[in-house]
């Protein structure tokens, strides 16, 4: 499988290189759907310029990336394009390997369950075969690399590509079973933008499952492992933050980066839900709604973790999707990350109910975003309501996609335990409803 992957990488690099050299690169880096105040390349360059002038890069409310990024680009600013292409490549390869390992795990578990005769007789068609699973890792890598969202994000040199690389490496290390690396990479991802904090739960569940530690709050083995993992995670987070402090020389970056992510002062339009709400809101209620919106992201972790405790990888997918939809400054790069996982759930296709609607909505919205932006900002014949309508529709499409896959996954699990053709007590056909 190395050859097709290499070919895919070459094609992807070629596309990105061509776009970098074209005049579209400048146009794309201005688009608000692709860059946000958090990860725009222009702001990184501005931060570097301020650093060269001797002023703190966080003064003036322009730069909101972490100090490690600025010091990374302090040395690599001339090779920025290569950095982002390499980051995309790393993400694709990490996802490829992760899904490969995941498929192996899935197949192994399926084999054991078959041998233990745990499946009802009529659901054998739901079982997955190595033949169908063979090309899934390549498809995942392809879905990531050739996704127009990813290409746009890379050409715009949005640091979202670097965040995605870190998260992909974290997933790889988790699936490989290395708790130490997983903790460190999760800390790095959390340090970049706070929301990957919620990925602590699925990673923990995966390790517990892998080490055959039952999730029982009374058992000491459970707490032992949890504390170990938490220690690695929190420790690396403290180390990375301390390192940033020593590099920068002040704690400026904490209100500028994390305060910025949480309090959303910059209401530049993007594909997220925050900007319009907070532009229309009275000052009096702002704190309340900030809390509501931010809690919304962290809130789904616990119920999902309880429901999907046997399936930590799917939980990870759900969590990444929720982060991408509800974070304060989402961009299409974040959307591309969870969309890359969709080929891994190919077997759920027969249970998806809204896939046609969702794909139409997402395609239409992606096409309408630049149109309505132009009408609003340049032609002056539309206003922010039009753009926000498309934003709402886009997010609705994403939520529908995620919940559809959730339903399909749970339904398949249900069928695997209770049989494919479900009957109610009186013998008529039953339909499965997600409640």
């Amino acid at each position: 499988m190395a050859a097709p992957l290499t070919l895919l990488l070459i094609v992807a690099v070629t596309i990105r290189a061509v776009l970098f050299r074209s005049s579209l690169a400048d146009l794309i880096s201005e688009r608000v759907e692709v860059v946000s105040p958090l990860n725009a390349w222009k702001r990184v360059v501005e931060g570097l310029a301020l650093l060269d002038l001797g002023v703190s890069p966080y003064s003036g409310d322009v730069f909101h990336e972490t100090p490690l990024i600025i010091y990374l680009f302090h040395f690599l600013v001339d090779y920025a394009e290569i950095v982002f292409v390499v980051a995309d490549g790393i993400t694709a390869v990490a996802l490829y390997l992760s899904v490969q390992i995941y498929n192996k795990n899935v197949f192994r578990k399926q084999k054991y369950a078959l041998e233990a005769d745990r499946y009802p007789a009529d659901c054998l068609e739901l079982l997955r075969s190595p033949k169908e699973m063979f090309y899934i890792p390549l498809k995942v890598a392809m879905f990531y690399l050739l996704n127009p969202f990813t290409i746009l994000s890379c050409v715009a040199k949005s640091t979202c590509g670097l965040n995605n690389a870190v998260i992909a490496l974290f997933i790889l290390c988790t699936l490989k079973g290395s708790a130490m690396m997983s903790g460190i990479l999760l800390a790095l991802a959390t340090y970049q933008s706070i929301y990957p904090l919620t990925l602590f739960a699925p990673a923990l569940l995966f390790f517990l499952q892998r080490l055959y530690i039952p999730v029982n709050l009374r058992r000491s083995s459970f707490w032992c492992f949890v504390l170990q993992y938490a220690f690695v995670y929190v420790g690396s987070l403290v180390v990375i933050t301390g390192l940033s402090f020593f590099l920068l020389g002040s704690w400026d970056f904490i209100p500028s980066v994390y305060g910025f992510i949480f309090s959303v002062p910059d209401l530049t339009p993007n594909i997220g839900l925050f900007w319009y709400f907070f532009a229309e809101m009275f000052e009096h209620f702002r704190l309340f709604f900030i809390c509501v919106f931010q809690i919304n992201i962290f809130f789904y972790t616990l119920p999902l973790a309880i429901k999907l405790r046997e399936h930590p990888v799917f939980l990870m997918f759900m969590q990444i999707a929720i982060i991408s939809i509800f974070k304060s400054y989402p961009t299409v790069g974040d959307v591309a990350l969870y969309m890359a996982f969709l080929p891994a759930w190919n077997h759920l296709y027969r249970f998806l109910r809204n896939i046609f609607l969702v794909s139409c909505v997402l395609l239409a919205c992606s096409a309408l975003f630049p149109v309505l932006w132009h009408l609003w900002i340049y032609a002056g014949s539309a206003n922010s309501n039009f753009y926000y309508a498309i934003t709402l529709l886009f997010n609705f499409g994403q939520i529908l996609l995620v919940s559809d896959y959730f339903y399909a996954y749970l339904r398949r699990e249900h069928h695997l335990t209770h049989g494919l053709y479900l009957k109610k007590k009186d013998g008529t056909e039953a339909t499965l409803v997600l409640k």
Binding site: E30, K42, V45, E46, L48, A49, L50, L53, V55, S59, G60, D61, V62, P265, I377, Y378
Partner: protein
């Protein structure tokens, strides 16, 4: 009212007050604005004595004040011990035609007061000519130098030349505090609020978001070199400090002659009144008209070098009753000479424009012109950008003669915006 319509195209009020520090008198001679004197080429015998007397008055400007003082005190010595006032007021009006056909009238009222506000334990309570409201403000906030200007309209430098005192549209306030002030920001905030009450202008909206503390430009004019400010000493030997309050009103009249051949103005047409007397409190009161056809004519002439441009003015001294003539009113009639408009192009001139389209991105271009034939000047540009205009520092490019240039000194200051 005649058939002429005229509108104010520029109105500018400038008030400043400074305390000149202990200075040596050779800094008084400023290259740019020295009032030199010259006797009028034709003066008949009847006025010979007067001319001599005037000559004494028209010597170099640094001694102008104390000459007035000595003449005042001399003339007063005959009387029986009159009170010697420590303050005096001088008023003058300069009328000058602009090359584009407009008339530039500049009023200046200078109050000089020999007192020290900032002296400890010596509270000033008796105000005569110096306004009490300003004096109390200056002493309360320990102000060393204050400039405030209100401008409506836009000075067209390229068409009109340099104004006597340049100022931007809107309101501008410069203050230098005494070094004993510890909380400059708090003082500044209170001062802007008090001044907004005094002048009925919304200066209280000048807060930290549009205030700058320049580090390199804008040195206190009492110490430095500038066009419109002269450090003033109490007397010839500069033995002490005195306060100088200079209030200026600059107006540009835009007269429509609606097709009539000759352009002529008079004081009555501009201000709808004539001058009948000088201010009784003023120690000197003069009207300067730039030398073109003036009537009534006057034997008094003076030359001044303003911004490197030597011009001749006719002087009307309002403290003399003969200026007002038979009718006891002075109505200056000025006729426009078609070829007399040779404006000296301003040496340095700046323009700014915005480029780009749409609401998202744009550029601001500031163009500075140097019109000197052979000399190059170092230019210090101070720009104050409001917080809602997000400017990227790394996009700053300086081009001169189509070649990329780098500023030799660049300093950046961010003001904290409290949301």
């Amino acid at each position: 009212m005649a058939a002429h319509r005229y509108s104010l195209s520029f109105l500018f009020v400038f008030i400043f007050s400074n305390v000149p520090l202990h200075c040596s008198c050779d800094t008084l001679e400023q290259a740019d604005s020295i009032v030199e004197t010259q006797r009028a080429p034709q003066s008949n015998k009847a006025t010979a004595n007067r001319a001599e007397f005037n000559e004494r008055q028209w010597q170099a400007s640094d001694t102008e004040l104390d000459k007035d003082e000595t003449t005042d005190s001399q003339s007063l010595r005959g009387a029986a011990a009159p009170p010697v006032f420590k303050d005096q007021l001088q008023e003058e009006l300069v009328i000058r035609p602009l090359p584009s056909g407009d008339i530039y009238a500049s009023f200046q009222f200078r109050t000089l007061w020999d007192v020290d506000f900032l002296q400890d334990g010596h509270k000033v309570s008796h105000y005569r000519l110096f306004p009490k409201s300003l004096g109390q403000v200056l002493s309360k906030f320990s102000v060393r130098e204050l400039h405030i200007s209100f401008t409506q309209g836009f000075w067209r430098t390229m068409q009109w030349g340099q104004p006597f005192i340049p100022s931007p549209p809107g309101a501008e306030l410069w203050v230098w505090f005494h070094h004993t002030v510890t909380d400059v920001d708090g003082n500044w905030r209170e001062l802007t609020n008090v001044l907004s009450g005094i002048f009925c202008a919304s200066l209280n909206f000048i807060d930290l978001t549009n205030t700058v503390q320049p580090s390199a430009s804008f040195k206190p004019l009492g110490l430095g070199n500038a066009v419109h400010i002269r450090p003033v000493c109490k007397d010839d030997q500069c033995t002490g400090k005195a306060w100088e309050l200079r209030q200026t009103l600059n107006v540009v009249f835009d007269l429509y002659t609606s097709g009539q051949g000759k352009k002529e103005w008079s004081l009555f047409k501009m201000f709808s009144r004539t001058l009948t007397e000088a201010c009784p409190l003023a120690s000197s009161s003069k009207v300067y008209g730039e030398l073109f056809e003036l009537s009534p004519s006057t034997p008094l002439l003076s030359q001044a070098v303003v911004l490197g441009d030597r011009r001749t003015y006719s002087v009307y001294d309002l403290s003399r009753s003969e200026t007002f003539g038979q009718l006891r009113s002075l109505n200056l009639l000025l006729r426009w000479k078609a070829d007399s408009a040779d404006m000296l192009r301003p040496l340095l001139h700046a323009e700014r424009y915005v480029s780009g389209f749409g609401l998202q991105i744009g550029e601001i271009h500031t163009v500075i012109y140097n019109n000197h034939p052979y000399r190059a000047f170092p230019v210090l540009l101070m720009d104050s950008v409001p917080w809602y205009l997000q400017i990227y520092i790394h996009t700053l490019t300086v081009t001169s003669k189509n070649r990329e240039n780098k500023p030799s000194e660049f300093s950046l200051q961010f003001m904290i915006v409290h949301e």
